[in-house]
Each structure stands twice: as structure tokens, then as C-alpha cells.
């Protein structure tokens, strides 16, 4: 079917396009305007903004941790079901179906689940497969696993690490590698209670730094498009900007992605020993071109924190609001589920909110800073429209600042920042740049050959309203959303990479699982047939 989206302002930073024009789609892909052909379906976009489908690089939407949060907080989901968009609390328990619908309504067409534990990969993929409309991908977590730490301890060399990383990407059907507080979960099992970048996992004698560097080299060497995705040490602690700066300098010229940097933007200034250190952190990011970051913006309201940083979550469990939590010592990993309520009148929460916006506004290159709330850790992804509005209006930020505790505002630079994001910068940050960061050549842009994922918005001066409910959304060329309402459903795919490896690793892993767990490694792999969808995966090419 030949579809034409006619006469909108097309903003396509990847192709340097910003002007009124048409987008043509055929066979699920964007095509050059055909000569003399008539569209079978024409959608009038005059006066509207036409963007590629948005891509979220870091949102916890599936897997045992997320599902445990649902089961932990039935009261929130009970609020959600009858009236899905009323309150912040009502969004917490989202099931898989609602997750896909809500993302699609905002014009998002690809979302990455960033924290898949290797042994729980199948559940993550089963959940992803039940999220309708959008395409998905998952990052598999390494860095606390006995096999890897054993390899590094025995100084087995880079090729052995790379083969193991490649085996994990394939077995768990992942799009990339994440490391969470490298070594922290392993150290916590040995009763270590705080763990910094140069601290050592006792049994293996390995520093967090050495684990991270090995994984960074392996990911880079394998040609996996997405750089190593890093959750740093010391999340949430006063003074942890030092950790962020140290980790940024450890990139050493190779690509490195730092997740939810807001949670590492804290100094120790002021009466309460807690302040924004976003400015020096942003400066370091600006000065380090191989580093990309996503923000992990905090927005006020009830949420639940879901993290594989078990050490951090354990230490935070007594701050749970409401007072209940799950702490999980998993196979080669960990997790913690701790509900939390970010309050506008809370000094610390107000500083956190400001730190996120400072990072957005002080990092100058929209190709290297990404919108996330670390859903649901900083806020629910449904708050993205409000964040766009804040980024695009200094006046709106001033209104919010006026309602915050003055002591909190005083320890940030936010009031002094005049920058306002343009629509082109928003399009870069949420479309062009994430596609580049994930190596998705046919996404995030509107040039010929791109996947027919298109979002059309009313050009409403109320930017939150504009981005909350897209006027039209096309997925693979089919209309799926009209005026913020889902009008048709389809099943998306999970994006994966499969770099080459020496197949000897397959035999070694089989032997390792038999020896260590007394179990077959097959029990932890993700076979395609287990997902009962026609084409559950789409392979993304690696650079080599």
C-alpha cells in the first residue's frame, strides 16, 4: 500500500531536513516520492510536525524485576485499570499491553529494556513479546558473573572475554551489554556494603574499573554498535559526582554510555551536604566526545525503583515509600525493588529534579544526551511530555522552580540557565541520536529505506499536550494511533545482535554450566520457538 503523509513540517535531523513536505511509505518502508503515482491513503499533516518514531534507549518495561514490582504494588495497578491516565500513581503497575499502548500514543516506536539478567532472559523476552505495537530490544547485564570474573582473575586475555560476551549476546538475544555497579553485586554477596570504582571484589581480586574496562574493550572489539552501557557505582549518594567524573575519564577515548547520569550528579555542598554537581559533570561530558549519557530525570510523584544494583537498593530499602521492598541475590547478578515517592517539597528530591534538567541543558550536543527517566526509577515514562515542555521553556521551568524549597534551588544552577530546546534538538535527542547510538541504520530518520515508523504531532504551543497524544503514529507504515488513541494493534520484534565468536566457547559454556550448576545451559537460553510469535527477532548488523 502506498501511503502519503502530506504537507507537514518534516523535521529529520539525520538527513538535515527541516521544511514542509511529504513522506511516502510503501511496503512498510519510507520511499522516495514516487513519480506520477497516486497514494492509496493520504493523511493531511498540514500545520503539523512530522518526526520519525521516537526511540527510548533505557526503560525498564519487562523481566522478573519489573514484574516483581507489579506484584509488589497491586494497589497502584488497581487504581490504574479503570482510568488509565488520571494520576501518577495509576501508571505504576502497567501491564505489558498498556506499556505498548502508552508508548505508541506518544509516538514512540522502539524501546530498549536495559537490564536483562542472563538467567532471566527468557522471561524478559516473553514479556517483551506481549508488549504490542512497538519494537523492543534488551541489554544483557554482565560484570558480576562468576565466569567473567574467573576469566579476568585468571588473566585469560581479551579474546576469551570477547567470545564469552558474544556467547551471552546470542544466548539471551540481546542488543547490547550493560554493566551494573561492576562487581558490586558479587561483592555484596561477600558482605561488602559499599563499592566504588577502584574497590575490589574480594574473591576475585578485581576492581570495578578493571571489570568495566574489559567489557568496554570486548564490546568495542566485537563491533557491537551500542557502546558498553554503564550503571556506575555509588548511585544516589551525596558527593558521587566524583564517581561520574572518574568513570567518564576511564572511557579513555573508546565509546562508553553512562546511564541515568542524574543519579550521579550530586555534590556535598550546602547545609545538608547535598547539592547539585551537574555543572562539572556536564562539563566533563562536553569535553569527552566518546561518552554519551542519558539523564534519568526525576519527576515528582509516586513511583517504584527497580534496579539490578542490589547493593544500592539494599542500602535504600529502609527509605521505601510505602514501606515494603524486595532484595534479590540472583545468579551472577542482583536486584532490588523499592517503592519511592518523589516529593516536590522534599529538599533532596527537588535537587534531584533540578540536576536532571541541568544535565539536559548544560550538555551542549543533543547527539550525546538522551531523554530517559530511567523508567520507572526517576519517574514513569508517561512524564516525557512534561519533560519536553520543561526543556523547551525557560518560563515553565521558572514556574516550577518557584514552587520548590528555596534551599534546594539555591544549591543548583538551574535558575541561571536560559537555554531552550528547539524541535530540531528534541528530534535529534529522541530520534536521530538514539538510532545512531544503537546502530539502527533504518530507524530514527525519514529518508528512503527507513522503517515506516512516523509520528505526527499538532504544533501545539502547549508542548506537553502536543507530545502526550500524537495526532498520527505509523508503525511499519500502518496507522496505529490517531489523536492519542490506539486504532490498530500489531506485534513488534525484539532487536538483537549476534557478533561472530569462536564456537569453542559454546562447548566451554556447556561444560561450565554442567560443572557449576549441574544444569544444561540450554535452560537459560532463549529459543525462538518459545516466544510463540511468527518473527520475534530482528538482527541488527555488527560493525565486524
Amino acid at each position: 500500500m502506498l501511503t502519503r503523509i502530506a504537507g507537514g513540517r518534516v523535521i529529520d535531523p539525520a538527513n538535515g531536513r527541516d521544511g514542509v513536505g511529504d513522506i511516502w511509505i510503501s511496503g512498510g518502508r519510507i520511499v522516495e516520492p514516487p513519480q506520477g503515482a497516486r497514494a492509496e491513503a493520504t493523511y493531511d499533516a498540514a500545520g503539523k510536525i512530522v518526526l520519525a518514531g521516537a526511540i527510548d534507549i533505557h526503560s525498564h518495561i519487562a523481566g522478573w524485576n519489573v514484574n516483581t514490582a507489579r506484584l509488589l504494588l497491586p494497589e497502584y495497578h488497581a487504581v490504574a485499570e479503570p482510568r488509565p491516565s488520571v494520576t501518577a500513581a495509576s501508571r505504576i503497575g502497567l501491564n505489558s499491553h498498556a506499556t505498548g499502548c502508552l508508548y505508541a500514543a506518544m509516538g514512540f516506536t522502539t524501546v530498549v529494556e536495559p537490564a536483562m539478567s542472563p538467567h532471566q532472559a527468557l522471561q524478559t523476552h516473553l514479556e517483551l513479546a506481549d508488549i504490542p505495537i512497538i519494537d523492543k530490544g534488551a541489554l544483557v547485564i554482565l560484570g558480576n558473573d562468576d565466569y567473567l570474573l574467573g576469566l579476568l582473575h585468571a588473566k585469560e586475555g581479551e579474546a576469551a572475554v570477547a567470545d564469552y560476551v558474544a556467547w551471552n549476546l546470542d544466548a539471551s538475544r540481546s542488543l547490547g551489554i550493560k554493566v551494573v555497579n561492576a562487581g558490586g553485586a558479587a561483592a555484596f554477596k561477600e558482605n561488602v556494603r559499599s563499592f566504588s570504582f577502584d574497590d575490589v571484589v574480594p574473591s576475585y581480586g578485581l576492581s570495578s574499573r578493571s571489570i568495566l574496562k574489559s567489557l568496554q574493550r570486548a564490546v568495542n572489539g566485537l563491533g557491537v554498535p551500542h557502546p558498553l552501557h554503564v550503571h556506575c557505582n555509588n548511585l544516589g549518594l551525596a558527593g558521587n559526582a566524583e564517581t561520574a567524573l572518574t568513570t567518564i575519564s576511564a572511557a579513555e577515548g573508546l565509546p562508553l554510555h553512562l546511564a541515568h547520569l542524574q543519579f550521579y550528579g550530586y555534590g556535598k555542598e550546602g547545609e545538608r551536604g547535598f547539592s547539585s554537581a551537574a555543572a562539572p559533570v556536564a562539563e566533563a561530558v562536553n569535553a569527552t566526545p566518546s561518552v554519551t549519557i542519558d539523564v534519568g530525570q526525576v519527576m515528582f510523584g509516586q513511583t517504584v525503583t527497580i534496579s539490578s544494583d542490589v547493593l544500592r537498593q539494599f542500602n535504600a530499602r529502609n527509605q521505601a515509600r510505602p514501606r515494603k521492598w524486595v532484595i534479590f541475590d540472583g545468579d551472577s547478578n542482583g536486584a532490588g525493588i523499592v517503592p519511592y515517592d518523589y516529593r516536590r517539597n522534599d529538599f533532596y528530591n527537588a535537587v534531584q529534579w533540578a540536576v536532571g534538567l541541568e544535565l539536559f541543558l548544560l550538555i551542549s550536543d543533543p547527539w550525546r544526551v538522551f531523554l530517559t527517566t530511567d523508567h520507572p526509577n526517576g519517574a514513569h515514562f508517561a512524564t516525557y511530555p512534561e519533560i519536553f515542555a520543561l526543556l523547551m521553556s525557560r518560563d515553565l521551568r521558572a514556574q516550577w522552580l518557584a514552587e520548590l524549597p528555596p534551599a534546594a534551588v539555591a544549591v543548583t544552577t538551574l535558575p541561571s540557565i536560559a537555554r531552550e530546546y528547539s524541535l530540531v534538538e528534541i528530534a535529534t535527542m529522541t530520534r536521530a541520536a538514539p538510532a545512531k547510538l544503537l546502530g539502527l541504520a533504518d530507524r530514527g530518520h525519514l529518508g528512503a529505506g527507513a522503517v515506516g515508523d512516523v509520528a505526527v504531532y499538532e504544533n501545539d504551543p502547549d508542548r506537553a499536550k502536543m507530545f502526550r497524544a500524537a495526532a498520527l503514529v505509523f508503525k511499519d507504515g500502518e496507522l496505529v494511533v490517531r489523536d492519542g488513541e490506539v486504532v490498530s494493534y500489531r506485534w513488534g520484534r525484539a532487536l538483537t545482535v549476534r557478533p561472530d565468536r569462536d564456537r569453542a566457547i559454546d562447548r566451554r559454556m556447556r561444560a561450565y554450566y554442567e560443572d557449576r550448576y549441574g544444569l544444561s545451559d540450554e535452560l537459560f537460553r532463549v529459543p525462538e520457538h518459545a516466544l510463540s510469535r511468527p518473527e520475534p527477532f530482528e538482527l541488527v548488523p555488527c560493525a565486524r
Partner: protein, 370 residues
């Protein structure tokens, strides 16, 4: 070879499925119970519930919800069977019938610990109220310490042990203070201890007491816990319900959206009170019929050999996941949802397929879009 019956008389599979659709189509308050099925079966059952406004419940919801109620009202520390096996230098087994709940338990957890960089450590095992018939293991030549004779004393003993761990005094509880102190100090000396229980034998208050003690032990050392999963893929169905509905089982679609209420949607209660007028009973793992004496109109999707008090309105023999057909379900040995191949592929219809075919035969209601 298919086996299906309508009102006790042999019938073609297609006719039985059509009859099931007809019964459900005219039901005012259907109940999908048993739910002993794999992940695909649970997904299909939930889709059928959404289409018909039915309630979903599992035959082992009682146990599952006891553990879950503790989690969703306080705090719990959990670990995996793998970590318990590899790292658990101190095991605290709590209550009777643990090996019945997990037949591989002795093989998986009672062996010696692997030597680690820190040298070999012998595993120590303590068993509170093992019951009369438990086979008491010896781990690596070290005798298991059992304490507590009568299972009914378990809550009081657990409370006393928690008090001793916290350094508080206790009244008389039927076990000497010396033994309690010995156990308490062993728990505190654990490097990575693991409490193991089955909610089959424990009430929610005892589980909460145990979880509270595990949390307190983490003030100084590392301790976690491993609740054993009930049979019939209870945990797999629980997880599947979680991501599809947002809730555990005992969830109903009567209002057009999912609502969860452990009392209202208890299948036994719904049958005994006569509220439900049509039951879909699913037991694909074991030849198990419902416990209730009442005989509401029933569509049974059950493993070969299941006998019912009265012939169900429709009875379809379904394959056992992992035997007759490949499946995904929860495995006690991994603690995860895992893929299993068919041990002896038989072509017997799976519960998932039967449910999907019943759903598609329903008169066109407002079905879920996907």
C-alpha cells in the same frame, strides 16, 4: 489420538471444543480454575477470561498468595536455587514436607559446598520442625541440627529464634534456650545463609516472622531466602498473570478490566457459593480433579487419567507440558521460566491450543484486540 467427551460420552475433539464455546458463550459468570498449565496455557487462559469476563485462579493460589502477601506487605530477601547451592554455607530449613515440595532438594542443596578462593567451607544445615517422616540429611558428614518436634509449635519457635538472633530473651517454647542460642549464633556466623520453606506448611504470619529475621540477620552478615514453588507451574502462572494483567491470580474480568481480590475470586468460594455458573478446569501436569463436591457445569482440560466426581459437561484430554509438547514453565532447579522440549511428543492437544480454539469459537464479543 484425541480423547474428548461431551457429558461423559465420547465425542470428536472439534465437537467438544464447539460445545465448550457454547457453554462459555451463555455463561454469566465463568471461572477458569486449576490453571495447571505452562506459560502458553496461562496466556491463552487469560485471553479467554478477558473475552468472557471470567475469573482466573490457580489450584495452588493459597500457597502462592501466602508468600506474596508477605512480600507485598513488608520486605523480603530472595535468592536463587543456584546461589543457595553454590554459596549457602548455612541453610535454615523451616517446616515439614520440604522434600515433597522439591524432590531434588537433597541433591541440589545438601551436598558439600564447592571450595572457593577462601578455602573449603562445610555447609551447616538446621531444620526447624521437620515433621516425623522427614529424612534428615547429613551435609558433608556434618549432622543436621533439627529442633522443634510438633509442627504446631513452629510459629512460637520461629518467634523465639528471631528474638534470640536479635539478642532478646524468650519465654518457654519447648526447645531449650541452649539449642536456640546455638542455632541463633550459627545463623549470625553464616557467610551467606539461606532460609528455605514451603508455604504449603506455613501460614503467612510465620513466613513474615521468618522474613523479618532474615532481614535482621543482614545487619551484620548476608542471609537470604528461598521459598519453594508449589507444583503445577504455580510460579510460572503467577508471573504470566503479572505481566499480562498486572496482578497475580484470583483476578476477574467481570467489570471489563482486571480486578484482583484474593477472597472474592477464590475458586472454591465461587463454586461453593454457587456464584459461578460455568467452570473451566485446567490440569495439564497431573490427573487432578477439583476438590469441591459441587458439580457446576464444567469444561475440563485435564491430563489423561483424570477422574471426576460427575462427568464434566465437556472433557478434553490435554498434553502434559514438557512431555507431550515443548513448553516454557517455571523450574525449581533454575528458579526461572525455562524452555523444555517434549520428552515424548504425542500430538495430544495442548491446553493452550484448546483454550485458543475455544476463545476463537466464541460468539463475537468485544474481544481483546491482541
Amino acid at each position: 489420538m484425541e480423547h474428548a467427551w461431551i457429558a461423559g460420552k465420547p465425542a470428536a475433539l472439534a465437537a467438544a471444543l464447539a460445545e465448550a464455546g457454547k457453554l462459555l458463550g451463555s455463561s454469566r459468570y465463568p471461572l477458569i480454575a486449576g490453571l495447571g498449565t505452562d506459560v502458553a496455557g496461562a496466556r491463552a487462559a487469560i485471553a479467554l477470561a478477558e473475552s468472557t469476563g471470567a475469573v482466573i485462579d490457580h489450584m495452588n493460589s493459597g500457597e502462592l498468595l501466602r508468600d506474596l502477601d508477605v512480600m507485598r506487605s513488608s520486605g523480603v530477601m530472595l535468592t536463587t536455587p543456584g546461589e543457595a547451592r553454590l554459596r549457602g554455607d548455612t541453610l535454615l530449613l523451616v517446616g515439614p514436607r520440604l522434600v515433597e515440595a522439591w524432590p531434588e532438594l537433597p541433591e541440589r542443596l545438601f551436598g558439600s559446598l564447592r571450595p572457593t578462593g577462601a578455602g573449603a567451607v562445610e555447609r551447616r544445615i538446621f531444620w526447624l520442625c521437620p515433621g516425623d517422616d522427614a529424612e534428615i540429611p547429613a551435609a558433608g558428614g556434618r549432622k543436621t541440627v533439627t529442633f522443634g518436634k510438633e509442627v504446631k509449635d513452629l510459629p512460637a519457635l520461629l518467634a523465639a529464634l528471631r528474638a534470640r538472633v536479635a539478642g532478646r530473651s524468650t519465654g518457654k517454647v519447648g526447645v531449650s534456650g541452649k539449642v536456640l542460642d546455638e542455632v541463633a549464633s550459627a545463623l549470625k556466623a553464616a557467610r551467606f545463609g539461606v532460609a528455605v520453606w514451603s508455604a504449603t506448611a506455613l501460614d503467612a504470619l510465620a513466613i513474615e516472622m521468618l522474613c523479618g529475621m532474615v532481614n535482621e540477620l543482614n545487619a551484620k552478615t548476608r542471609f537470604s531466602s528461598l521459598p519453594l514453588a508449589p507444583p503445577d507451574n504455580g510460579v510460572g502462572v503467577l508471573q504470566t498473570c503479572g505481566w499480562i494483567t498486572g496482578f497475580p491470580m484470583r483476578t476477574g474480568y467481570g467489570r471489563g478490566h482486571a480486578t484482583h481480590d484474593p477472597w472474592v475470586f477464590d475458586s472454591q468460594r465461587l463454586v461453593r457459593s454457587g456464584e459461578t455458573d460455568c467452570v473451566v478446569w485446567i490440569s495439564a501436569y497431573r490427573a487432578v480433579a477439583p476438590e469441591w463436591r459441587e458439580s457446576p457445569p464444567t469444561i475440563a482440560l485435564a491430563r489423561r487419567g483424570t477422574t471426576f466426581r460427575a462427568p464434566p459437561s465437556v472433557h478434553i484430554e490435554v498434553g502434559c507440558p514438557g512431555i507431550d509438547h515443548a513448553a516454557v514453565h517455571h523450574l525449581a532447579s533454575t528458579g526461572t521460566l525455562a524452555p523444555v522440549a517434549a520428552a515424548q511428543s504425542s500430538g495430544t492437544i495442548s491446553a493452550a491450543e484448546a483454550l485458543t480454539r475455544i476463545t476463537s469459537s466464541l460468539p463475537d464479543k468485544e474481544a481483546r484486540p491482541c
